[in-house]
């Protein structure tokens, strides 16, 4: 009877997040706060342009947020801007609505499938995505 949210996969992801840290070359960046807990995340677009998505992030945050950021960085890599924004918006909405498992989204996201049972933690999961969308728009 322990939490269903904190699965191995999620915890591992948060221990070894993808693209955690400042990239060598920063094209642009965006910082955001989680007003509920005061957590902070900075999302960077690496390289010379915003066309090919290559996101990195730094954060002081919980496992949900770190894992979510890691999934974002890995699964958006190489998308062009428009596709990327659309993808991110889709994920953000699905996280909020609790419909993550209903769409054809990257499997990696499944580990956040339970998040809608933890309403106070949804912002933790969406924060990287909303921050990235703001960055790209």
């Amino acid at each position: 009877m322990t939490s269903n949210l904190y699965k191995n996969q999620l915890i591992e992801l948060s221990h070894n997040p993808y693209h955690f840290g400042k990239p060598e070359k920063i094209f642009s960046s965006n910082e955001a706060l989680n007003p509920l807990c005061g957590d902070k995340i900075t999302v960077y677009q690496s390289g010379d342009s915003i066309q090919d998505i290559d996101l990195w992030f730094e954060s002081v945050s919980c496992i949900i947020c770190s894992a979510s950021a890691s999934i974002l960085a890995q699964n958006s890599e190489g998308m062009d801007m428009n596709d990327g924004i659309e993808f991110m918006k889709q994920v953000e909405t699905a996280l909020k609505d609790g419909t993550l498992l209903d769409h054809n989204l990257p499997k990696a996201l499944n580990c956040l499938g339970e998040i809608n049972n933890y309403p106070s933690r949804i912002t933790c999961a969406t924060l990287p995505w909303s921050t990235a969308i703001e960055l790209l728009q």
Binding site: C37, G38, C62, I64, C124
Partner: protein, 422 residues
Amino acid sequence: MASFLAIAKIDVMNAKREKEMMKIREEFPILDQKINGEDLVYLDNAASTQKPRTVINAIKNYYENDHSNVHRGVHTLSVRATEAYERARQKVTEFVNSPNKHQIIFTKGTTESINLIASSVTNLIEKNDEILITAMEHHSNIVPWQELCKRTGATLKVIPISEDGDILMDKYREMVTNKTKLVSVVHLSNTLGTINPIEKIINKAKSHSAITVIDGAQAAGHIPIDVQKLDCDFYLFSGHKIYGPTGIGVLYGKEDILNKIDPYQYGGEMILKVTFDETTYNDLPHKFEAGTPNIAGAVGIGASIDFINSLDRDLCHKHEMSLHDYAMDKLERIDGIRIIGRSSNKSAILSFVIDGMHPHDIGTIINQKGIAVRTGHHCTMPLMDFYEIPGTVRASFSIYNTHSEIDKLIDALKLAIKMLKQ
């Protein structure tokens, strides 16, 4: 051997005391429930306490028997509602030992009480004046003063604290000068549990004629308050943290300063006469109570004070501190734990962080075991910056908690650590 006996003796005493307290626990209907299949362990009392049956019933009875609008009515229900409302004011008067009933103003809560002061003293603050707060204040005792400073050109100064979470009194004494116009300090820190030496703080401030404001949000439920002995200008607290309802709070003020400062909100009750050209304000306490008040809320806070008065407060204090010390002792044996707030004069609030683990993750996992703690910055972000942490896990104890609930907390924490470390 001697020390083993000593410990055993304490345990027997604690157990005896706890048995007494369990009669009180039964007064709180909410505590008897399962969360995620486990008994609820409510350790979030610094955020808000639960309500005894007498408080809930007082509100219910008020609405079922006596409700009407107050003060301006000649019919029986209006008289009864007014009497109920003013009786509550009388109870608060005695609760804090205010010299007069009209020095007790009902507000929405501590936050509104502080905002009222910060707004209404504007005419007394000038450019180059200084306002002092401490590094451990709640946002509600920071932001209103920042705004006052913006409006007036005064400067906000922050009294530093030690790593243990005590105000650096030497530094404070140096900071108080003739420029100091107002000193606002928390009585009992909601994050650290520190009980501040407010008598000394008030004395020093008064020696330079500064206005003194005490944020008693956390203290009022735990420490007997005597505003005449403290001799502060203002003392504030919230109903919902002293076993009372939400939406009601208290502002005690000295009569001369309450008369000197501006009204805060304008409308019914607070006026003596209104024409379109000119308005004359009413006397205290009405000057600060515009509009229909939270009558049921006042009735509820009155009942919560009756409840507190019915307790053996010394026994309650000993019980809470025994829970605190018991938890502290067990927590310190856990690897990687860091206690935030180690003042030698503490209340039953325990904040801590665990190496490499985020408070929110811990809080969510132990909630699966029915355990309710608060996690995050506790509305003290600057204090988090001071300790260079994003937040803490905070377990805060009340009269109805038990030692075995702390055992459950510790077990759940160990499980969370195991999960998060894997």
